[in-house]
């Protein structure tokens, strides 16, 4: 791979701009909603609501959690990736899967499990711990994919020039995995800003829990909108930092380079300690929640209730998650291509906006959809179609990041060649770029389907009445403290999540092998 100089890029063709407008408009809706609600409060209202010690405290907590979780998860993920990709660790294939496994457990399930262990875990340090273990796979998988795609010659050259292993890692490997690491780390950061489900079991107040408190306490959507506005402002630098990280270098290539197997580093006497580290990681991130689920079934008197709903709920979870994931991924493709293969301010804006909205709590996005649908398109209100559109708004960045990982590896020249052979811009995209995006599309589908199966608020407020999913049933029984009855739904959610986790893991790992 060569670090090519940045080439002057053309503006995106008309079809791409048109295709980007749909997701752009969808994502702009909640932003407009928050702005209208916020401005109704007036300037004095804004100042009065926001400039208080309480807001500062929320800001501190929110940032502490987002920054600590992102840094800790990145450190653990890079260390784990180094262990499974560059060391002679026994059973590496197995460890790769176990590190990815916690993805199958919803954050609110693992948070509930941890919080029941004691008050220490309910404070901010507990929140950081729980959310870190939850986030590790989201960084680990892209980093592993990046590590596997590196040309080992660079490392060999560095070593032969007398660089130590650490220096080689820092000077040669780290810069090359930086886009993957940075992109996934910032996605985790945006995700942490919006996290609510996990925190509702703890004693930590962040912007998201405060927004919920505002709805609960005052029933005035303005104060909640103001806090949401602040949350979006915090997301702003996160969203643009991610773009800067990626724009720095070009990683596309046509040939795979010398695809030589890497000689793994011999761990020697360190092996048992490294193994122990992986075992600990697995126990902490997967074992604790899994054991808690089993415990519920044994201890809960309500165990066995509502079992007849497990299958319909499973069917609905899949029936909403799959089309939702497909639509979200389709919406993500033009946004990604417009920025990776072309340039333009509008394209950049379209691409960044979803990351900002990703930081908003689900209730705010759902209420924006209520206002828009009731006001302009009452016929679609509380239809499956509307829920699917809201899913796009909520989860677009997940699909974007996966598709982008593929798109950056596709040389722009491919579609230039197709154009020179007389194909229209769309044909050129359809025939050359799109087929090469498939690994990323697969990863995007799996990751969005995974998150969609857990979505609760938008499904409750906007799905046709009476629709039950695994997530809504889990919520229903836990809110009545019928943990025994809730356990089968959680277990089914974890089991069925295993499929997208498996697909996502394989897709991400093979991202660079597939062409």
């Amino acid at each position: 791979m060569t670090a090519w100089a940045r080439r002057r890029l053309a503006l995106p063709p008309a079809w791409l701009v048109l295709a980007s407008i749909v997701p752009f408009a969808l994502v702009a809706l909640p932003i407009l909603y928050v702005m209208v609600q916020g401005f109704e409060a007036g300037i004095s209202g804004i100042l009065e609501n926001l400039v208080r010690p309480y807001t500062l405290n929320l800001l501190l907590n929110t940032l502490t959690i987002a920054v600590s979780v992102t840094i800790l998860a990145s450190l653990i993920a890079v260390a784990a990736a180094w262990g499974t990709e560059r060391c002679d660790l026994p059973g590496r294939r197995w460890w790769r899967l176990t590190v990815a496994l916690p993805l199958a457990i919803p954050a609110y399930v693992s948070s509930f499990a941890w919080s029941s262990l004691g008050p220490w875990f309910q404070e901010i340090q507990g929140a950081i711990l729980i959310l870190t273990f939850y986030s590790v796979p989201l960084v680990y998988l892209p980093v592993v994919a990046a590590l596997r795609s590196l040309d080992p010659n660079f490392e060999d050259v560095a070593r032969s020039l007398g660089h130590s292993r650490w220096r080689t890692f820092r000077r040669v490997v780290l810069p090359q995995i930086a886009p993957a690491l940075g992109g996934s780390a910032l996605l985790v950061a945006a995700h942490m800003l919006a996290e609510f489900g996990a925190l509702s079991f703890l004693r930590v107040e962040t912007f998201t829990t405060a927004i919920f408190d505002q709805y609960t306490a005052e029933f005035n959507n303005q104060a909640a909108a103001l806090l949401s506005g602040v949350l979006m402002l915090i997301c702003l630098p996160v969203a643009f930092a991610e773009a800067r990280l990626r724009n720095r270098r070009r990683v596309a290539r046509i040939a795979r380079g010398s695809a030589r197997a890497i000689v793994p580093i011999a761990l020697g006497r360190l092996t048992p300690f490294v193994m122990l580290g992986f075992v600990a990681l697995t126990i902490l991130s997967f074992g604790v929640p899994a054991v808690t689920l089993c415990f519920w079934v044994v201890e809960g008197h309500s165990a066995g209730q509502g079992l007849e709903r497990v299958l319909p709920a499973l069917g609905n979870s899949i029936g909403y998650a799959l089309p939702g994931a497909a639509l979200t991924t389709i919406a993500a493709i033009p946004l990604v291509i417009a920025t990776t293969h072309f340039r333009g301010r509008f394209a950049m804006l379209c691409d960044r906006l979803p990351y900002i909205v990703h930081g908003l709590p689900g209730i705010v996005v759902a209420l924006a959809a209520v206002a828009a649908a009731i006001g302009f398109l009452p016929a679609v209100y509380q239809t499956t179609g509307l829920v699917l559109l809201v899913y796009i708004v909520l989860f677009l960045p997940l699909a974007q990041s996966s598709v982008r990982a593929s798109a950056e590896l596709v040389p722009r020249e491919l579609s230039d060649v197709a154009r020179s052979l007389g194909k229209s811009p769309f044909q050129a995209f359809w025939l050359t770029t799109l087929p090469n995006l498939l690994p990323g599309i697969g990863a995007a589908l799996a990751l969005t389907a995974l998150q969609l199966m857990r979505e609760l608020t938008a499904t409750l407020l906007l799905a046709p009445a009476g629709v039950v999913t695994l997530a809504t049933e889990f919520w229903n029984y836990t809110s009545d403290r019928a943990y025994g009855a809730a356990a089968p739904f959680a277990a089914m959610l974890v089991l069925i999540s295993g499929i997208p986790v498996y697909v996502f893991t394989l897709r991400t790992l093979r991202l660079n092998d597939a062409r």
Partner: protein, 338 residues
């Protein structure tokens, strides 16, 4: 290159997603025939009520379940176009917020007259469906009943520093309003500041009462049914926690109700009135109290939950006095709680 296969897969995927989208639009729930009920009360309770209602009247009810404040925010956003006919809220403040926005219709006076006036809205736009008592959950191993605080006001003092938890939701605003009514605004503000200084805030009542059960904290301000749901799940005899009420007519003693009302915009008002009347009938009340540890608003019925008698429980302030508790919100903000 495996481009051709990939292209086929892609085209198939696009077609599938398109079909799903149209299928979704077409697959709209038909709610026009029966009643549409937005439900924030425990689902099992409302399901039992609805089943009994449909059996008695033949009218179908479609339920939408979510947290009450979320549903109230949703109805406020829907305005006059709301598909909801009836809203059943777990607490009275969410539905009272809709009353203040003028979104509720008048309930038949004959229905309201079935129960004590203190459980209904003063303007007759919502009714109390079930009653609970505001209580203190305490851990029996950490504190003896005799040593329990004698008044809610004690919780705002240094004497209880670090010994109790509180939750700024479900029932908390009513608590604040009760103190405002009896002790005045300044006392309520001082109490809230004390709470912030000396108490531990939890993000939910279930979590707080679990913390008491596990001995993480000695006491928590709560509603009675959270303890009963834990007792049902784990067995009452095995619990470390118990419930406590203040003696006399302390400001901490309050009734809070689950409440229901009809949307002014409902195109099904006759059926909605029938449903509300059924909620206060013997059959409707029994269906509800059989499935949740709450008291009936109608006299002469008994709960299977072995609830303590309400005879000694005096609450000076009624749910009707509290409204949407927006004053409580202003006070909580002044105290820096929210």
């Amino acid at each position: 290159m495996t481009g051709i296969n990939r292209r086929t897969v892609l085209q198939g995927g696009v077609a599938l997603a398109g079909a799903a989208m149209f299928g979704g639009l077409a697959g709209r729930a038909k709610a026009a025939t029966g009643l549409t009920l937005y439900n924030g009360q425990h689902r099992a309770t409302t399901e039992a009520l609805v089943a009994a209602f449909t059996k008695a009247t033949g009218i179908d009810v479609t339920m939408r379940n979510a947290e009450s404040p979320e549903l109230a925010a949703q109805i406020a956003e829907e305005g006059a176009r709301s598909p909801a006919d009836v809203f059943f809220s777990e607490q009275s403040p969410p539905i009272a917020s809709l009353q203040e926005k003028g979104l509720l219709g008048q309930i038949d006076p004959a229905t309201l007259a079935l129960i004590p006036a203190k459980f209904n809205a003063k303007d007759g736009t919502w009714l109390g469906a079930t009653v609970r008592t505001r209580v203190v959950t305490y851990n029996k191993k950490m504190i003896a009943p005799a040593d329990m605080p004698k008044s809610i006001m004690d919780f705002g003092t240094a004497a209880l520093a670090g010994k109790f938890g509180y939750v700024k939701q479900d029932g908390f605003q009513e608590q604040v309003m009760s103190i405002v009514h009896i002790k005045g605004r300044d006392a309520a503000l001082a109490w809230l500041k004390g709470l912030k200084q000396y108490g531990r805030s939890y993000n939910g009542n279930r979590i707080a009462s679990t913390a008491v059960e596990n001995g993480e904290i000695a006491m928590a301000l709560s509603n009675n049914y959270y303890w009963y749901s834990l007792a049902k799940e784990k067995g009452a005899e095995t619990l470390n926690s118990a419930l406590y009420s203040f003696p006399g007519d302390d400001a901490g003693n309050i009734f809070n109700v689950s409440a229901a009302g009809m949307l002014k915009s409902s195109r099904n008002q006759a059926a909605a009135q029938k449903f509300l009347a059924f909620m206060l009938s013997k059959a409707g009340q029994q269906a509800m109290i059989d499935t949740t540890a709450e008291y009936p608003v109608l006299a002469g019925l008994t709960s299977p939950y072995n609830l303590p008698s309400l005879a000694g429980f005096t609450a000076p302030v009624s749910p009707a006095d509290m409204g949407s508790a927006s004053d409580a919100y202003a006070l909580e903000r002044e105290a820096g709680l929210i």
